[in-house]
């Protein structure tokens, strides 16, 4: 079991993965405007988000990540595979 999982962990990753540093987040909500299907403001300043959004949201996520005024969104883009188109490069976490 452990071995099988070890393989999964090291395999190329096909999904967008996000984590927002909610200590750093100040609810400027730029991500909610630009990727409303992924990020949502709950009440005045609590941020909700789907940490593994649908790949169709790629463009929106890209805009949300770039526009965060405090650069609180860490994202891992899907890795390039043979049958894949051009994907954004992985960016360092804030």
């Amino acid at each position: 079991m452990a071995r099988a999982h070890a393989l999964d962990v090291c395999a190329p990753r096909a999904r967008i993965r996000l984590v927002v540093d909610l200590n750093r987040c100040q609810a400027y909500a730029q991500c909610c405007f630009l990727a409303p299907g992924v990020f949502e403001l709950h009440g005045e300043e609590a941020l909700w988000y789907d940490p593994e959004p649908d790949p169709a949201q790629r463009e929106h996520v890209l805009r949300a990540v770039a526009s965060c005024p405090v650069q609180a969104i860490a994202v891992e883009w899907p890795e390039r595979t043979d049958d894949d188109g051009v994907e954004a490069p992985p960016r360092r976490s804030p």
Partner: protein, 470 residues
């Protein structure tokens, strides 16, 4: 790029959660090319825990979505997942695993975190419908049950975890009763003044909140399903789900006999994350990070601080990893001011510093009644913490006041300062009088904290005497 700790060396990280992952990334980012092995008791790759009590149990996205993004590819890291560490042979520098194997290392990072404190009665805890929440599997099970529309959910303990669970249940439209031994939700973490507002928030959102109340018994039917929750006031509630949210237990049992100062509040370490031995000698090859660490903090007069905070796991892991591979003269101290957030009932709560260290509190901006405010905490004339409800943008200002040990109460005028305003007693209940725990605790000066000889407390003995570390 090469590191002072040679490429022929082997680093073992025990604990495959946030701290373990960020430590491995730091090792690689800083150029360590030796062997890195990560051991974790759960079968999953490192995932993010804060969403479990919110988005996952409320069903906004599946638990599988919480895998943490990688800042480094980590292709050349060896993962041993689904197997717990059961012991440390410090002399041989070897960690024993539950499957009977062992792993040798040159340096070790202890990042085994904590687990949910179980219900005190093992047979009651086994009833179908009784849950705790710490891991992804817990969250999946709880979500499945909540999605099946139970008639009533009873949350035992109104700390951050219990309050967030209650909030998620209300989002789902479920009837919720929260049982809290203390005077109000979050009172152990934020003090009575702010906690009163947290209690109002729960009631405004339809939670049946019962303070100064404890649970006498969880009662099941013949099929072993939870049916009733019997309370200390003599009453009983019909309920089909009970979530036990009574804080966390540090995963240190596996270090018994290792010679390290490991106890109820974690493994003591120095500011550079090096573990401290029972004889008070700082070790060279054992490091600690995350929820399981207890470290001295200069802002709190070098008392050992025990934190269960997301950002602490990240920052401390990065410092530990850096210090594991750099030349001794380049080691860095872990000095970050504790910080955390919680979102519940539509309110964003932020905290910096250690509120439980304070004896007075001052509403510096906004108003408790409006539900938007900055509360500043002081002790002996110094600012030691600040908490905001939906006023998070101001908190970094108060963090600077903490960092500079600024006078309390803050003297300056400020926008939205309530009038009149004066400090009042913070009203922390006796720690034994709350059913939850603060997530930031000052634990004194003793590395061995008197409880270093591990005394099992109301704990079911797992097979092989092992307790799964995370």
């Amino acid at each position: 790029m090469s590191t002072a700790f040679g490429d022929d060396k082997r680093i073992l990280i025990v604990g495959a959660s946030l701290a373990g992952l960020r430590a491995a990334e730091t090792l690689r980012a800083e150029g360590f090319r030796g062997r890195v092995t990560i051991v974790g008791d759960e079968p999953d790759e490192p995932y993010d825990r804060p969403p479990l009590s919110k988005g996952v149990i409320a069903g906004r996205f599946p638990a599988a979505h919480t895998a943490l993004p990688r800042c480094e590819p980590l292709r050349d890291v060896e993962w041993r997942l689904g197997v717990a560490a059961t012991g440390l042979d410090a002399l041989a520098k070897r960690v024993l695993l539950l499957d009977g194997q062992s792993i040798e290392f040159d340096r070790l990072l202890i990042a085994t975190g904590a687990r949910a404190r179980p219900w005190r009665d093992p047979s009651q805890a086994k009833l179908d419908g009784v849950f705790t929440l710490r891991g992804r599997a817990d969250a999946e099970r709880l979500h499945a049950r909540l999605a099946a529309h139970p008639n009533r959910v009873v949350v035992i303990g109104a700390g951050f975890m219990g309050s967030e669970i209650a909030s998620s249940c209300r989002e789902l439209g479920l009837a919720v009763t929260v049982i809290e031994r203390g005077p109000a939700p979050l009172s152990g973490a934020l003090g009575g003044v702010v906690a009163e507002r947290a209690g109002a928030l729960q009631r405004d959102h339809g939670v049946d909140l019962r303070c100064y109340t404890t649970v006498d018994a969880l009662e099941g039917d013949a099929e072993g399903r939870l049916r009733r929750v019997r309370l200390s006031d003599g009453s009983a509630l019909d309920a089909d789900v009970a979530v036990v949210a009574l804080g966390a237990v540090r995963n240190t049992e596996w270090l018994r006999g290792s010679g390290l100062a490991a106890g109820e509040f974690g493994v003591a370490c120095d500011a550079g994350c090096r573990a401290i031995a029972l004889n008070f000698i700082v070790t060279d090859d054992f490091f600690v990070a995350g929820d399981v660490a207890r470290f001295p903090h200069p802002l709190y007069r070098h008392q050992f601080l025990a934190l269960e905070h997301w950002s602490n796991a990240i920052e401390q892991a990065a410092i530990a990893a850096h210090n594991m591979i750099c030349a001794p003269a380049n080691r860095r101290p872990h000095l970050a001011v504790p910080a955390f957030w919680s979102s519940q009932f539509g309110v964003n709560i932020k905290s910096v510093g250690v509120p439980s260290a304070a004896d007075e509190v001052f509403i510096a901006q906004g108003s408790l009644a409006a539900g938007r405010f900055v509360a500043v905490y002081g002790k002996e004339g110094r600012v030691v913490a600040a908490v905001t409800f939906n006023q998070g943008r101001w908190i970094e200002f108060y963090q600077r006041l903490i960092e500079s040990a600024a006078p309390f109460p803050p003297e300056a005028s400020a926008a939205d300062r309530p009038t009149p305003s004066a400090p009042i007693p913070v009203a922390f209940p006796d720690p034994t009088a709350v059913a939850h725990e603060a997530t930031a605790i000052l634990t004194g000066y003793d590395a061995t904290d008197r409880r270093v000889q591990w005394i099992p407390r109301r704990r079911a003995a797992p097979a092989h005497g092992a307790v799964n570390p995370r």
